[in-house]
Amino acid sequence: MEPVAITGLGVLCCLGSGTDVFWRGLATARPAPAPVGDPHARMPLPICYAVPDGAVPDRPDHLGGLPLGRASRMAVAAARQALADARLTGMAGAPYAIVVGTGMGDSGLHEQHRCDSPPDGKELGPVFVVGSALGDALGWTGPCISVSNACSAGGFALTVAADLIRAGEADVALAGGADAYSRVALACFNRLGAIDPLRCRPFDARRRGTVFAEGAAMLVLESALHAERRGALPPTAWLLGDGWSCDAHHPTAPEPQGQQIRRAMRAAIEGSGSDADAIGCVIPHGTGTALNDVVESRALHAVIGPRCARLPLYSLKALVGHTGGAAGALAAVTGALIARRRAVPPNAPLDEPDPDCPVWLPDGGPTPLTGRHVLVNAYAFGGNNVSFVLAGGDPR
């Protein structure tokens, strides 16, 4: 696959706002989920890793006369960070593309209005307006796409944007994901018994499920030629290859043999123009859900081979929780930072590593990145899988 340059990063999550805060937090912070501040959240475990209120800007608060919710505002904030990082500000009118992943869109706004009737009596607009909000805030005029593949939406958004660039439909694309607290989503996960009461602890023997989180992450993607012409090379990182697949198995459970997630990983590695030996770190999907972590661990061993036992994984959700449609994008930002800084941050320590998940999660301190590439996985309800390979510096 043709390498696509990643020239800017932006992120908001429970650690705060900005990539510097994020990177420091990956190494040092140990946040815990907290009760949501929603009096109508009638469920056994109303907990979440929330973005600090001060980190979410008040604007934009409207799109064409309709109010915008927290997910849209977080997405715009992350986008502005990414564009500043890429030195691509003030580009209103440019035919650049936007591809954003979101599982719930601005559902939180609709839920709020259901309890507190709209002050002006107006009907609320569509839920999935995060991409629209980005397009209006930035003034860009290229394709503007909203991907809603649940927990893999951010990863799919990144690779759809890469497809756009490779196809010549855009020179620049902003890609990422955003999801905020939703009462409905959290209630449904409670009903399914899929929430860990303590914290998000993937690959721990005592994990009980996942813990939702708020977050937004955005990446600026460019064709290598465009980045070169404006002096943006070397970029922060390269997107070298990606692979998609679908389990076609079960609405919520992964296919036990992991055949399709293996296929996505292998396609991503093959697309990178290298092989599994070049992988120096994996950011797994790793949600803390019992079967998912086992299936992913085994699939990693099948794809990487015996070296998997000493290949560092960075378990992002153990720190920031499960940001839903943003998760793949947060993982992409993390992978890009790891590739650029050539170091894997220390993992949040496990209480009791699961022997059925034989993966290495170094937690004593930063681990040098010894391979050239970082493999990122993002999976979702419905068996919608995406994997991609990132690299820093020279793409090959």
């Binding site: 109508h40 009638r42 469920m43 056994p44 064409g64 009118g93 035919p95 599982g103 869109g105 559902s107 609709h110 259901r114 309890c115 607009g125 569509p126 839920v127 999935f128 307006v129 991409g131 629209s132 397009g135 209006d136 860009w140 005029t141 290229g142 394709p143 503007c144 796409i145 909203s146 991907v147 809603s148 593949n149 649940a150 939406a153 759809v160 497809d163 756009l164 490779r166 196809a167 439909e169 409905v184 989503a185 209630a187 449904c188 409670n190 009903r191 399914l192 998609w244 697949s245 679908c246 389990d247 076609a248 198995h249 609405p251 919520t252 979702a380 309800f381 419905g382 068996g383 919608n384």
Partner: protein, 332 residues
């Protein structure tokens, strides 16, 4: 507009109360006016999907399965020669989950999460509507759900065709599905599905090739339109997309709301000199896809469909029937 890699539509499936209402619209007997149909009365799930396997599916998932089944049946034996890992799906929707979310939320507020049905709970995630297609028809190459206001169905076609061209699959099932929002009109409910495959594969068996289809999209920032200069810029950009120097613009069907964005799109189409027809977009992503299916099914020459909506999304599809055979019969 660059062509997707030699793909043709061989299957069309439409599930819509508009079709059912055509029967209802027959002149009523004197003194016996036809009653308004109930919200879901137009769709007989058992008749369309069989007696089992759909009890817990929300309406939009049922419509989608039925439309996909019809499209694949229309396409003949198209899956037989395509490995499961080479079959992709792209689904667009805006409101498939809206009414369900509202019902779920009221349950949580009044009874708590324990009042939710565990069978229905996974459908809080909008991608499950499309993911059922993969389970039913073994579509393992990919399954992507897209949700941009108004244009999500066209967006699914565009994104899916791009994915096929990139080599991610050999066959695409592209679709839109909606359940009308609470308080909305039931004519915004239904589903449309289209099967795309390589022309060479379609030519190898006796199946009708409905035509080819290309979709592109752009964004018109609504805030840009507050000033006359911004409206002129936006119109000119769209004209640049839509006008082909030296070529007559194809007859164009507009599917629009009443927003400034739609007005700019209509002006741009007008500037191309195309013969124009119009209909309201309604609520959700279904109406443009219904019209696209109609163009593919009956248009005798190149045609264009342009859809635009208040939130800034503009998408256009161009359809072209397969060349008629020398004897004048339909290509197959």
């Amino acid at each position: 507009m660059s062509a997707p890699a030699d793909l043709v539509v061989t299957g069309i499936g439409v599930v819509s109360p508009l079709a059912a209402m055509a029967a209802l619209a027959a002149p009523p007997r004197a003194g016996n006016a036809a009653p308004a149909p109930a919200a879901d009365a137009w769709f007989d799930a058992d008749a369309r999907l069989g007696p089992r396997g759909h009890k817990y599916l929300p309406p939009a998932a049922r419509y989608l399965l039925a439309a996909a089944g019809d499209a694949l049946a229309d396409a003949g034996d198209c899956l037989a020669g395509i490995p499961e890992e080479r079959r992709g799906a792209a689904v667009g929707t805006n409101h498939a989950v809206a009414a369900l979310h509202a019902r779920m939320d009221r349950t949580v507020i009044s009874e708590g999460a324990d009042g939710l049905s565990p069978a229905t709970a996974p459908f809080f995630s909008v991608n499950l509507f499309g993911s059922h297609l993969s389970g039913r028809f073994a579509l393992k190459a990919f399954n992507v759900t897209v949700t941009s206001p108004g244009v999500a169905g066209l967006e699914a076609v565009q994104m899916g065709l791009r994915a096929v061209t990139a080599g991610r699959s050999a066959l695409l099932l592209a679709a839109a599905t909606e359940e009308a929002r609470e308080g909305g009109t039931h004519t915004d409910s239904g589903a449309v599905a289209l099967v795309f495959e390589r022309r060479q594969a379609a030519t190898a068996r006796p199946v009708r090739r409905h035509g080819s289809c290309r979709v592109r999209s752009a964004f018109v920032p609504p805030s840009l339109l507050r000033e006359a200069s911004g409206r002129a810029q936006a119109r000119d950009r769209l004209v640049a997309h839509l006008a082909e120097p030296g070529a007559d613009a194809p007859p164009t069907h507009l599917v629009l709301d009443d927003s400034p964005v739609a007005a700019v799109a209509a002006q741009a189409v007008g500037a191309t000199g195309a013969a124009v027809t119009y209909e309201a977009v309604g609520s959700g992503s279904l109406r443009p896809m219904l019209r696209l299916a109609g163009l593919l099914a009956v248009a005798r020459g190149p045609a264009r469909l342009v859809s635009a909506i208040a939130q800034g999304h503009v998408a256009w599809a161009e359809t072209r029937p397969e060349d008629a055979r020398a004897d004048g019969s339909a290509p197959c």
